[in-house]
């Protein structure tokens, strides 16, 4: 293995041919790569040989260098090499990306056949950065790279964003829902950079704005996360929140075409779900308990007789006296299936990668299905020695079926059915297959608007199909050595079609055998069709030059001109009165009542980009970037923004005055410092800056008449939101690279955040407040990424710990800020809360506290300012706790391998976030009727008999206020993934013509330690959301042919 630190001029990590072979010609790595012709005329010995891999396949392109001379060559297509040496004896060095370096001594003319062994660690050597690749040792920006291998791709993950959880320090990955098709994770690089869109830019193979969740994880080769200004500033105004660069696989460097099949199958269970009480008589007594707080028994909504009757008859007549276990009815064991076939290969002049995949997800909710088909074709061809062309094409197609926007619920205030899950009483029969009726309320006194979720999840489904095609072509040409011109043209297209055609149905009362008052879907149910299309074009012209001057000065410069153009349009139409329940296109309905809408918008961005890299003596690194962006969103005069950055790096372990001290334990060390700016225009609408009139139509008799109103007040000075990032980092490698560490500190200041300005109330009733460059937000944080890997005999192991801490601070706000959880010199959305004194146990407790209308059993609040009243002034601010996201994230990856067996664990953890546990399902102040109780309602509320109750009394006073009583710490430690695999030994497989075969089992979200009382500490969502996170168990295979 690695036995000594390489001293040659060409350390192995300079072999920059991993992904973009063409972009980093071998010539760079081997100055002078081939010796002058005169050299050969001298007396010399010839060494020959063949280089193969572990499977005895030839390895072309392996660098064979004569140690200490700078002489070298590369192997040919068959892995053969021939090298002449002046000296009669010496040492040959064999190096190849992805393989461990090897040395072999020779004496005289000889044949040395070498078997190179693959080395996973070496793959990190070249990192994909914006518009190119860079050698990792020379990186001065803060870039984290993840190589996506079969172990990541084999996890039963619904999308690529979820796969990034715990992989990169400083990248917060949060699962916000478990809903099939909507369970993507939110990605946030280095905290909340802006109160506007804070999502990072996703770039796939040079295509910005690709949906990360629609990429086949199996197609991904590597992911780079650009975190600071230097690494990201070539993306300028697109990169204020960092960039995630995804590179898909190609056939480059392959010698033999390969066919791979991956498949896995997972079953999915909830991590935790609401425990609705499937006991209607008991639920009615809960209503009685609530009513008893303020009413005489005679006035109670539910009578004892109703309850007794239900209790008795419920045991013998479940149709008429149901005790429905709703969760059981509306949820199911989900599953995720993932199948993927790919082929890849390469030759001297071309290479290809082709893959098709399908992902089929059945969510935990009935009728929540998601299917995603993916096809990819990547192809590169070398037209001439100095010319390349290539295409990248991805097409995907998804089908999503769902009932409500959040699955079980919908938080939109306009969808009144969206909150109704809290009204799913146990006393409703979901469906009677004999009569074909859906049940409604039956108990005397029950609210007819109680909810039968089953009928909604069966009969009012939305179906959404979406197709995307993302294609790009490039051509590059290097007319002279070091100079490359390249043109890329990218076209992405998407089309989305959603339809709903609800099935008429009405609540049935099985006791009286009549239809009740509630009509779930009326007889005139219609059809709604909604189409969204969009496309985007991107054209880049790039010119780059790289060369080495003298012996020790490497210089590369790059300039790019880029034009991006977005276009989206939408059209919707609906009609009432569908002709037949089986039809769903809008023509299949009567024309008497119909509506239609349509719109389009476009946006342009013109950019000039430049980058300069300079490396001296392989020790001193310098990089400068700029990007000059003009956006159509702003008015002329404010359209352009200049975003530039510079960085320096120092590989101090290369210094002769340091090396003697460090070389025994430290392989390499690099200090890097960067500073620069990025921009953001996501906070402003496409046409927001244009003076326009809005329609506000009026009626004249029966006729609609045109009306225009002036609703806009344009801020003519509005311009880019900009941020500056300072980053200082340290990359260290110890003990023969077994231990590596990357440490970063950053300080990012976002200036002029685009926000609607606050106007006088005299104007806000007429004008939309113009946006202004409003506030400054600072993010500071530290990140660490520490990896240890080693091998003891046959046993390989690796441990990676990554952690990050981020603190936000709102530094400036140009306008008045009222009291609330946004304030100057505080984190954005900090905890601002009443303090509680616990539950009053006695009247004594109530009298001892500040008067607040409480009774025993109510939560008492502290009178912090001592004015004898409980008002908003008694809230306390916590500067170190925030409501929306954790300050600290950490992850631990453990990999173990022994012979063919591999085991991996992933733990994730977070802390620093507190939020209220107040939602629609733990309501202690429920209404008089139709509340869906959980067992917690039965067990937890305080009462004279249950003094130690964990909840305050039912229907008490002020018990739903945001006090510390309901404030939960959302810290957690989660065993995110365990994976166990077995690779069948090669010699067994060879006989059946199979290259590789791995079988594995994996499980997600295995266990969580948290004190949070709600569904899941990772879940964001709103107070009606009930979709749990997924826990899954999967098995799968990888087969290589």
């Amino acid at each position: 293995m690695l036995n000594s630190f390489p001293l040659s001029l060409c350390p192995r990590w300079l072999h920059a041919r991993w992904i973009l072979w063409a972009m980093a010609p071998a010539a760079l790595c081997l100055p002078p790569a081939t010796a002058p012709a005169a050299f050969f005329q001298q007396q010399s010995v010839v060494i020959k040989g063949r280089v193969t891999d572990e499977h005895n396949l030839p390895l072309p392109g392996v660098t064979v260098a004569l140690k200490g001379t700078g002489t070298g060559t590369t192997t040919d297509a068959n892995g053969n090499y021939t090298l002449r040496s002046n000296a009669n004896s010496g040492v040959l060095e064999f190096s190849f990306i992805g393989y461990a370096r090897q040395e072999a001594a020779f004496t005289g003319a000889s044949t040395r056949n070498i078997v190179l062994r693959s080395d996973q660690k070496a793959l990190g050597e070249v990192v994909v950065v914006g518009y190119g690749t860079q050698k990792k040792v020379n990186l001065v920006g803060a870039v984290s790279a993840v190589k996506v291998d079969e172990k990541i791709a084999g996890r039963a993950l619904p999308n690529a964003s979820s796969a990034l959880s715990g992989m990169v320090p400083g990248l917060a990955v949060n699962q916000s829902s478990g809903m099939a098709g909507r369970n993507s994770a939110t990605l946030l690089i280095r905290g909340l950079g802006t109160v506007n869109n804070a999502n990072p830019l996703i770039v796939v193979d040079g295509m910005p704005d690709v949906d990360i969740n629609r990429i086949n994880l199996n197609d991904i080769e590597s992911i780079s996360v650009l975190k600071d200004a230097t690494s990201a500033s070539v993306y300028g105004s697109r990169a204020a929140n960092g960039v995630i660069l995804i590179t898909t696989k190609s056939g480059k460097g392959m010698r033999k075409a390969q066919i791979n099949f991956n498949g896995n199958l997972a079953i999915v269970k909830p991590t935790k779900a609401y425990q609705f009480m499937a006991d209607y008589p008991r639920a009615l007594t809960m209503h009685q308990r609530g009513a008893a707080v303020s009413q005489q028994p005679a006035a109670w909504q539910f009578k004892n007789g109703t309850i007794d009757q239900w209790m008795a008859l419920g045991m013998i007549d479940p149709l008429r006296y149901p005790n429905t276990d709703w969760w059981d009815v509306i949820s199911r064991t989900g599953n995720i299936q993932n199948y993927n076939v790919s082929a890849s290969g390469g030759g001297e002049n071309s290479n290809f990668f082709i893959s098709v995949g399908v992902q089929d997800e059945k969510g935990l909710q009935i009728n929540n299905d998601y299917k995603l088909y993916n096809a990819r074709f990547n192809y590169d061809y070398k037209i001439r020695k100095n010319m390349n062309v290539g295409v990248r094409f991805n097409g995907n197609w998804s089908k999503l079926t769902y009932a409500l926007e959040d699955g079980f619920t919908d938080d939109a205030p306009t969808n009144t059915a969206g909150f109704d899950l809290q009204y799913a009483i146990a006393g409703i029969t979901p469906y009677d297959p004999v009569s074909g009726h859906y049940g409604g309320v039956m108990a005397y006194g029950e609210d007819a608007q109680a909810y039968n979720p089953y009928t909604v999840y069966m009969n009012t489904l939305s179906r959404m199909n979406r197709q995307e095609a993302n294609g790009s072509i490039y051509f590059d040409w290097s007319p002279v050595k070091g100079l490359t011109g390249r043109v890329d043209y990218i076209l992405t297209y998407n089309n989305q079609f959603r339809w709903n055609a609800n099935m008429p149905n009405q609540a049935f009362n099985f006791q009286t055998n009549t239809f009740g008052g509630r009509i779930y879907v009326g007889e005139n149910a219609g059809i709604g069709n909604f189409t969204n299309t969009g496309y985007k074009t991107l054209m880049n012209g790039r010119l780059s030059y790289q060369n080495t001057f003298g012996k020790n000065h490497e210089l590369s410069v790059m300039g790019v001109y880029s034009e991006e153009y977005w276009y989206t349009r939408s059209q919707s139409s609906s009609r009432n009165d569908r002709l037949h329940p089986s039809l769903h296109e809008v023509d299949a309905a009567l024309t008497d009542i119909q509506s239609a809408g349509g719109n389009s918008s476009a946006e342009g961005l013109r950019s000039y980009i430049g980058r300069l890299n300079y490396t001296a003596f392989n020790k001193y690194l310098f990089e400068a970037n700029f990007r000059y962006d003009g956006s159509s969103k702003f008015l002329p005069g404010s359209q352009y923004g200049l975003f530039s950055s510079a960085a320096v790096g120092w590989r101090f372990t290369e210094e002769s005055f340091i090396k003697p001290f460090t070389s025994r334990f430290m392989n390499s060390g690099k200090l890097r410092v960067s500073y620069g700016g990025l921009g953001n225009n996501s906070g402003v609408g496409r046409y927001e800056q244009q003076e326009t009139l809005n329609t506000s139509n009026y009626m004249s008799g029966e006729d609609i008449v045109r009306g225009f109103v002036y609703r806009k007040m344009v801020n003519r000075d509005l311009t880019w939101e900009a941020n500056t990032v300072f980053n200082i980092g340290l990359d260290l490698a110890f003990l023969d690279n077994r231990l590596t560490a990357e440490l970063d500190y950053y300080n990012r200041l976002t200036k002029g955040m685009l926000q609607s300005s606050e106007m006088s109330i005299l104007l806000t009733g007429a004008y939309e407040a113009p946006r202004a460059n409003m506030g400054n937000l600072r993010n500071r944080g530290v990140e660490a990424n520490i990896t240890w890997s080693d091998k003891v005999g046959e046993f390989r192991y690796g441990v990676n710990l990554n952690a990050s801490y981020n603190a936000t601070n709102l530094e400036k706000w140009n306008e008045f800020l009222g009291k609330g959880y946004t304030f100057i010199n505080m984190p954005y959305h900090f905890v601002y809360t009443y303090e509680d004194l616990g539950i009053a146990q006695t009247w004594e407790d109530v009298y001892n506290a500040t008067p607040q209308g409480a009774s025993p059993g109510d939560i008492l609040r502290k009178d912090l300012n001592g004015d004898g009243r409980i008002t908003g002034d008694d809230k306390k601010a916590y500067p170190n706790l925030q409501r929306d996201r954790p300050t600290t994230n950490a992850a631990l990856n453990v990999n173990l391998g022994w012979k063919g067996i591999d085991v991996a664990f992933l733990f994730t953890a977070a802390t620093g976030r507190k939020d209220y546990w107040i939602n629609n399902y733990n309501n202690v102040n429920y209404g008089q009727q139709r509340y869906a109780f959980t067992w917690e309602h039965w067990n937890n509320p305080w009462s004279w008999e249950n003094r130690g109750g964990a909840w305050p009394r039912l229907l008490g006073s002020s018990n739903r206020e945001e006090t510390t009583f309901w404030l939960d710490d959302l810290s957690y430690i989660r065993l995110k993934n365990i994976q166990v695999g077995y690779t069948i030994p090669q010699n067994l497989l060879k006989r059946i013509g199979v290259n590789s075969f791995r079988i594995f089992g994996s499980t997600e979200n295995v266990a969580t330690i948290t004190s949070y009382r709600g569904l899941d500490p990772e879940l964001t969502g709103n107070r009606s959301n009930a979709y749990p996170l997924n826990k899954s168990y999967s098995i799968g295979v990888n087969v290589g042919l």
Binding site: A299, I383, R384, M387, V441, D447, A448, F475, W477, G485, V487, T514, F515, G516, G517, R518, I519, G522, E523, N524, M539, E563, Y565, N599, S600, E603, G604, G630, P636, Y687, Q690, E691, T692, L693, T695, S696, Y698, M699, S700, G701, E702, I704, V705, G707, F708, V709, Y710, M713, M759, S760, I761, L762, L763, T764, G765, A766, Y767, F816, G818, Q929
Partner: protein
């Protein structure tokens, strides 16, 4: 080989050029909006003036078209919430309050109208925009187009006057501006203008409108001369009341008896013109129409139809805001607010209180009936007992407006689902959504938990299918001839006592309910005649949002609800249960806060010059 290379290079360069040339999007950084009209394309022709005015109408409409919520401030209507969509002006955001049930309760509402304040000023901006821009067109207007342009300005000024009138009647002194505002700085430190000055500006707006409007607006939903007159009269009447009865909560306002008299007279003058000069008459000639006995609703009195789309454009409705039905996105939500689930899934936010029933007089005597007796229907004989509130027969021989306005047990209304008639729906308090058999026919009873009094409204609830609960096309009346009759009677009575023409007008209104003319005792003096006027205002205008404003301008809260720190005033239901208590041990300060609304404190945080009304300090 070399040559080949050159060709390829050339091809490449050419391809590059082509790609560059064709991919470059024309005017990349100059993208024009696709559905919003560029401001520079407007104000080119005189037709634009009308289009801008229509926009102003559309945005001023939602400041007035849910005034029925305000009836919750009175003692006869309960508003348990409302159907507004938060954040959507056209769907009632001006009336939205963090707690709708508190905002429209009989007491403790004054702090819930920040949004109303905000949107009223929004309306000021909308009208200023029309006025200023059209005024700019006047110098170049031709003689033929000038009247039309001046009419547009007149309508906008009428709307602006109505808005400021609403503002002063709620908040007293208010900031005033009458030009287009181009930046926040222009209004950021605006102080409140004394009410008298604001009133004079409103009068000026109404004067201009009266001058320039046509005597009869041909297009329904647009204003005409009598509208301007009626509003000018109403403003004078309010001004007279404030001077007559005082407004101690409004700092700096000194009541002046002489000013009151002058304003009463001016108001009477304006109302007289409205009544006499434009040939206006009550809906369907003021005739009562036909009526069915209790339990049937095939034949309903004319008063009922006055509040259905049939009455759109009727001369009685002096000014209204038009609404459009399905597909126009301009529907009213009267059905959603006033009806129950059986009526297109409506929500029954607003219900009559039990106490209104005894206010309906007997046709036979022309005076009040002996009070109803609330009874629990479980009590034997309750459904048939004499005067029992749950006996439908207790409601015969009443003012026709009773059946037109409210429903008691076993009253019927037509149910609708999916825009079609379902069946007749019997209303039975506390027995909703049940199967009932009446005269051998099966019905499903009225389904709502919205009523706590025993009654639901019939007024404003359509009896024709075809429109969804949020798609009503009824033109909401903001000024009705009956109201003008009553205001005229009030103004003349205040100065001169009962006048024959005023008594005659009251009798016209009573005739609509098929009531006999007022007896001599009811017109004997100023005081009893005022009571008769108030009685007619309660019955005739219920659900139209007047009662709270009337109580405040008459300073009648103490009369109705008792003095400060008094016993509670109870509201009960037809079964005799107490359903709510108001003004129990209520401090004086609460009364003061009910008399004047709170200036939005958020605005005071920003604008130190903005003073607060004293009770809210």
């Amino acid at each position: 080989m070399k040559k080949n290379q050159t060709i390829i290079s050339l091809t490449a360069v050419l391809a590059g050029v082509i790609i560059f040339a064709t991919s470059c999007v024309k005017d990349l950084l100059d993208q024009q909006p696709t559905t919003d009209l560029g401001a520079n394309a407007f104000w080119k022709t005189e037709a634009d003036a009308t289009i801008a005015l229509m926009g102003a109408y559309a945005d001023v409409r939602p400041l007035f078209d849910r005034d029925y919520y305000f009836d919750g401030h009175g003692e006869y209507v309960r508003n348990r919430g409302n159907a507004v969509t938060n954040g959507n002006l056209q769907r009632g955001d001006a009336y939205h309050a963090s707690s709708a049930s508190s905002a429209y309760a009989p007491s403790g509402y004054g702090q819930y109208f920040d949004k109303m304040y905000r949107y009223l000023y929004g309306g000021v901006t909308r009208t200023n925009y029309v006025i200023e821009n059209v005024q700019r067109m006047l110098p170049n207007a031709t003689a033929t187009s000038l009247p039309e342009l001046e009419r547009v300005i007149g309508e906008a000024r009428l709307l602006r006057g109505m808005i400021y009138f609403r503002l002063i009647s709620m908040w007293g002194d208010v900031p005033y501006f009458s030009k287009v505002i181009n930046s926040n700085a222009e209004v950021a430190d605006l102080a409140r203008l004394p009410i008298g000055q604001v009133k004079d500006s409103i009068i000026a707006d109404f004067d201009y409108a009266f001058d320039k409007l046509p005597p009869d607006a041909s297009e329904p939903g647009r204003a005409s001369k009598p509208a301007a007159l009626a509003f000018r009269g109403k403003l004078q009447l309010y001004w007279a009341c404030w001077n007559q009865f005082g407004w101690p909560e409004l700092q700096g306002f000194v009541p002046d008896a002489a000013a009151a008299t002058a304003a009463y007279n001016a108001a009477a003058e304006d109302f007289r013109k409205v009544i006499n000069d434009y040939g206006l008459e009550l809906f369907r000639g003021g005739e009562p129409g036909e009526i069915d006995p209790p339990g049937l609703a095939e034949k309903l009195p004319n008063y009922y139809y006055l509040f259905t789309p049939i009455a759109n454009g009727d001369p009685e409705i002096i000014m209204s805001f038009a609404h459009g039905g399905t597909g126009t996105n301009q529907g009213e939500e009267l059905m959603r607010d006033f009806a129950g689930r059986n009526h297109e899934g409506s929500q029954c936010w607003i219900t009559p209180r039990y106490e209104i029933a005894d206010r309906y007089q007997l046709i036979s005597t022309g005076d009040f009936a002996p009070p109803l007796i609330p009874m629990n229907p479980a009590t034997p004989g309750a459904r048939t007992a004499d005067r029992s509130a749950v006996n439908p027969q207790s409601y015969v021989d009443r003012d026709y407006r009773m059946k037109s306005t409210i429903q008691w047990d076993y009253e019927m209304s037509l149910g609708f689902a999916s825009l079609k008639v379902t069946n007749w729906v019997p209303w039975i308090y506390k027995a909703g959504n049940q199967e009932v058999i009446i005269n051998g026919e099966k019905y499903i009873s009225y389904n709502t938990d919205g009523s706590n009094s025993g009654y639901v409204f019939r007024k404003f609830v359509r009896n024709t299918p075809g429109l969804g609960r949020s798609d009503g096309n009824y033109a909401w009346p903001v000024m009705r001839l009956a109201d003008v009759y009553l205001m005229y009677a009030e103004a003349t009575n205040a100065v001169n006592g009962p006048q024959p023409d005023a008594i005659n007008l009251l009798n016209k209104i009573r005739h609509r309910g098929n009531l006999p003319p007022l007896s001599g005792t009811k017109t004997a003096n100023k005081e009893v005649f005022f009571d008769a006027i108030e009685q007619e205002r309660i019955i005739e205008l219920i659900g139209e949002g007047h009662r709270g404003f009337d109580l405040r301008r008459w300073r009648a809260l103490e009369r109705v609800w008792g003095p400060p720190y008094g016993d509670a005033v109870l509201r009960i239901d037809t079964h005799g249960e107490i359903v709510s208590r108001y003004y129990q041990n209520t401090p004086e300060r609460t009364y003061q806060q009910n008399y004047i609304f709170r200036i939005p404190p958020g605005e005071r945080d920003r604008n130190p010059k903005l003073t607060q009304n004293t009770p809210w300090l």
